[in-house]
């Protein structure tokens, strides 16, 4: 595991818990839940990963490995990846969400995501990789290198929002995980907890939510691992603590609240494809010329702007042809939708 990324690492060396114990503790905490964790934290203050203020011993300082809590302010450098259109309002970005684990209504995630435990957080890296294991968010994301990218987010339901994400290129994260040459695909899996997610009681999708990419798609410059939005750590309804952002694909191709990254030789199963293979393809690139079987994709309603949602014409690859069209050279995009 790459603890070295943490600038505090040298200072903490003396009191750091051995990795094996740390991992055990992480498992125990997940099993015991936040309240149980409080007592363990007391015993091992150096490595504490407090999630809620109530669980932290008074005076305890967030230690190595703790990622910022939802809403915590983040510093990110601006980039040239910026759609010129007006940003969606922060209220819309955090209040109009599809996160079916919390319910199918757009307001359900904001209403119910509060219960989700986002710290401690462990991401299991599996499959065709030289570095399998359990990782914390900070092991994957270098918070000193955060950047802001203003991407257009295009939902398969024919609406879009312009969103200022904060995170790091997916390629940087994957580089740390050392996939083998045999890895042709990468699959992402969303957190699943029946107690914390009221939406999973209904079989709307087969849980947990899984999505996947071809490796070259994942390594594309646009593919992004977001840990924040609007300059703050991701709210739970937006996929705290870490999610993917793939602006040339329909929104559902992104995976929120990632707990597993698996490198695979074969094309992975994906949640919406399992729910309706004729409607949601593996690629799901934004394409105004390939309609969803039940509705047109030629235009989209703009959400979160002023006034009442004017429509705009949908662009090929959501306007990102320059960066991604090479990935699909020679492919029939009507067949590979």
């Amino acid at each position: 595991m790459e603890f070295r990324r943490n600038p505090d690492y040298e200072d903490l060396q003396g009191e750091v818990t051995p990795e094996s114990l740390f991992l055990d503790r992480r498992r125990m905490m997940t099993a015991a839940g936040v309240l149980g964790a409080g007592s363990i934290l007391g015993a091992l203050p150096a490595c504490s990963e407090p999630q809620q203020a109530t669980a932290v011993a008074p005076g305890a300082k967030p230690a190595a490995g703790t990622h910022p809590a939802p809403g915590a302010s983040l510093t990110a450098k601006k980039t040239s990846y910026a759609v010129a259109d007006q940003l969606a309002s922060e209220d819309a970005v955090t209040g109009y969400n599809n996160f079916y684990e919390f319910g199918t209504d757009k307001s359900d995630p904001a209403r119910y995501a509060d219960k989700m435990t986002v710290s401690p957080w462990s991401i299991s890296v599996e499959g065709e990789t030289d570095k399998p294991g359990a990782y914390g968010v900070k092991d994957l994301v270098d918070y000193a290198k955060l950047e802001e990218r203003v991407y257009r987010h295009r939902c398969v339901e024919a609406w879009s929002m312009v969103v200022p994400w904060v995170g790091v290129p997916m390629a940087d994260v994957i580089a740390k995980l050392k996939p083998k040459a045999t890895a042709k695909f990468v699959q992402f899996e969303t957190y699943l907890n029946r107690k914390e997610m009221p939406g999973v009681r209904l079989p709307v999708l087969s849980w947990p939510y899984v999505e996947g990419l071809r490796m070259d798609e994942a390594m594309n410059e646009l593919a992004f691992m977001a840990v924040g939005v609007y300059g703050k750590a991701l709210p739970k309804q937006n996929g705290a603590p870490i999610r993917t952002v793939l602006p040339w694909k329909y929104g559902f191709k992104a995976t929120k609240s990632i707990v597993k990254i698996r490198f695979m030789e074969k094309q992975p199963a994906t949640a919406w494809n399992k729910a309706g293979a004729n409607e949601y393809g593996f690629y799901s690139n934004v394409n105004p010329d390939v309609d969803h079987p039940r509705w047109s994709q030629s235009s989209e309603r703009v959400i979160g702007g002023k006034g009442f949602n004017e429509r705009r014409k949908t662009d090929m690859f959501n306007g990102y042809s320059a960066q991604v069209s090479k990935l699909y050279a020679g492919m029939d995009l009507k067949k590979n939708f």
């Binding site: 199918t104 757009k106 209904l202 709307v204 729910a275 979160g304």
Partner: protein, 219 residues
Amino acid sequence: MAKAHSPLLRTFGKRWLKPLTLAVLLAPLVYLCADWISAVNGGPHDLGFNPIQTTHHFLGETAIRVLLATLAVSPLRDITGWAPLALVRRRIGLAAFFYALLHLLVYVGLDLQWSMPDLIKDVVKRTYITFGMAALVLMLPLALTSTNGMIRRLGHKTWDRVHWLIFPLAILALIHHFFAEKGLQPGPVIHAAILILLLGWRLARWGLARLRPEPVAAS
């Protein structure tokens, strides 16, 4: 089958049932209008971040619920034996038509911006819209023949035959809703369960009536 009811219930049936039903039927529209007035004036509202779609879905769902209510009137009257219920069936049915029509108008006016080519394309190409349109078109003769004058002119038999259309059109409307949603959502499933119950009740009664010997023959 006439049952004795308390005088209070009789007065209620005579005086209050009709206006009360009307008020209940209008409540969703009043709520929606109040929300829009507040939204336009920058006030708080429940329309969310996609007000046109919220409005569109709200009107559609209300139409289906009111349609199911229409279908529930006769079974309820049969079970309770309370005849005045039959007096409000027409206004409930008309309200369902009214909400379905508003649902269509919001779709054509606000969503398609009155583009008739787009509408035709949608109706032809999108099966669920074809189903929804068919349901609404089938409601039209029912609404037009709902007056006392038309009942008299058509005669009860013909009128009954025309209004039998409510069964296929309700099924079409539900299929429309089912396929309008992304994924398997609870709303249409609940509505389908209610419709199956309401149609099942009629089917069971019809079956039982055929099995039972005719009362005339028995006496």
